[in-house]
Symmetry: C2
Subunit: 352 residues, 2 copies
């Protein structure tokens, strides 16, 4: 087969969809037709991809006819209904929702870590991991290959855009409300009063604050976001007994998730060796010169593709432990980019 | 002895000193005279304490004559020189710098945890812990008494005021520069460009960003702040072999440090029991109803005295582990309040 595959982008108008069109316009062009699909209220809208205007069509079974690869970035319930429809019509669905990630018949793929699993898709569906997991897993996977991962203790510094366009808008709105006021932040409740009705999708003010909550409540007081980090890391790395404790916290950053990672391995680690293997790992950039104040921060990383890693230290009380700090753009590698990379693995089957 | 003791406040004009005067004005008044001391350039300034104007005097040996307790909040080098001077003139020096914290002849005291050690001060000096350690140690100490602490993995969300008034000013300045701009945060470097020359004491922009650095560089890539959390937790809890990994990160919050804490104990833990003992611990408030979106955040905690704890979860892969999120005002319990509490322990020896 040498025909270039046809791609459908479902959810083309959302925060991730917008980044997806940018990515499709800048990466090697491996597709023939690209169809843009969204909810009926966005149908008729014109969006630019690969330098051309394309009209958005409303989600319906027939939009998948002739489609080879369909990328979904829509709510869980929409994916749960429509990814199987796309698959039934012959497309491989690459889904960025949580609907299928833990389905044993759906691979959960990060090309740099377990790309070979993309071919084993009995339901015609491949899942893209959660953005928080994706922000760290390429770097952690590289260390795992060398040292054998046993345990992760993770604390996140998650960006507003993880809550979609609504989250981005709420943070900008809040920053505007507090930005010129030098009295705020000294008395309990004053930031909350200034933010007023502008909480948006967050359960507490995000500007001038941090909020230890993302997702929904699960058993034992854990949030869904924290359990995703645990369950998805286990599945991607093929380590069903991996010990994982995550605390997920939202910070007033627009885009790019950061994580403080304490990783314990089977084998003894070495700081210089770990730095060298991270520097050489696909999809990872090492920025680790604290003497020059060089380490990754969201403001320096946003809009880029790799996972940026710094602050690599061997744990002082356990030679098998490493502590590090990393940043990844949650809309790019954390969502659209990894979805696009998975779709490219599938596309290569058609053209390869 | 029944004469009310004389107090000196050294560093009365700084960010912590300002909070100290507020604390001295609102807590039970156990002192006779209060002398306010600062650098020569602040001498002559008038500050209000206990509702009265007091003129600031310049630091000199004779200001300690007749002083029973001297609280120091000044840079390490100033404390190193002057706390022994105060002690030689008969005052007990309660020092909030890093100069004496690890000195085996100087107790490192948190009244709720190891208050009895304040009496054992061969040099006439008592040290107040670092603000990041103080923000968590009361809660961790309460759990340690029940379960026996073995290991801490900590990630911090540290406020700008941990870097003093200069840090506060820089954050407000940066928030003003970025506050109305809805284009920022999407491209690497755009926040850095907007912040421009307003970095202040931080090595990267703090507004709309997080910065994985606090303090100075030590061996193995660790920051001084991270090693303080390790060394001071060990000393306060009397656990010289406690395993501690900390990653310290600055966030765009004016005041109140937060920490995500993963604690591993000798004994099996229980979520409900841990919540109950934290709720009953002196100096701790439990706010842990995630189903109602109730958890501590800096904006709700700033200006208050206790350590606020929420998100208490038993680790899913280790019955001896607990994960939690906590907040403490770094200028109050993290600095001025704990110093005042130690000074009150000493004052009680004079009046008791």
């Amino acid at each position: 087969m040498s025909k270039k595959p046809t791609l459908a982008v479902v959810g083309a108008t959302g925060a991730v969809g917008t980044v997806m069109l940018d990515i499709l316009s800048t990466r090697e062009d491996v597709y023939g037709e690209i169809r843009l699909v969204a909810s009926p209220r966005s149908a008729g809208k014109k969006l630019t991809v690969r330098g051309e205007e394309v009209e958005v069509v409303a989600l319906a079974p027939e939009v998948f006819d002739g489609v080879d690869v369909a990328m979904f970035d829509v709510p869980d319930a929409v994916s749960a209904e429509w990814a199987p429809v796309a698959a039934a019509r012959g497309a491989v669905a690459v889904d960025n929702s949580g609907a299928f990630r833990m389905d044993p018949d759906v691979p959960l793929v990060v090309p740099e870590v377990n790309g070979e699993q993309a071919r084993n898709r009995p339901k015609g569906i491949i899942s893209n991991p959660n953005c928080t997991t994706l922000s760290m897993i390429v770097a952690v996977g590289a260390l795992h290959r060398r040292y054998g991962l046993r345990e992760l203790v993770v604390a996140s510094y998650q960006a507003a855009s993880g809550a979609g366009q609504e989250g981005i808008d709420a943070l900008y709105d809040q920053l505007e409300r507090v930005g010129g006021n030098r009295e705020l932040g000294n008395r309990a409740g004053d930031v909350r009063a200034a933010v007023g009705d502008g909480l948006g999708p967050f359960p507490a003010p995000l500007a001038m604050n941090v909020v230890p909550w993302a997702g929904s409540l699960k058993d034992g007081g854990w949030s869904s976001e924290e359990l995703k980090v645990r369950n998805e890391s286990r599945k991607i790395l093929g380590l069903p007994d991996l010990r994982v404790s995550a605390t997920c916290v939202r910070v007033p950053v627009v885009t790019t998730h950061s994580l403080a990672v304490h990783a314990v391995f089977e084998r003894e680690t070495d700081q210089r060796e770990a730095q060298a293997l991270l520097a050489g790992a696909a999809g990872v950039v090492l920025v680790d010169n604290p003497e020059l104040h060089e380490f990754p921060t969201p403001a320096d990383v946003v809009g880029t593709d790799p996972t940026w890693v710094g602050r690599v230290r061997r744990s002082l009380d356990d030679a098998r432990g490493l502590d590090l700090f990393l940043c990844g753009d949650n809309l790019r590698k954390g969502a659209a980019l990894n979805t696009a990379q998975i779709a490219e693995l599938v596309a290569a089957e058609f053209t390869g």
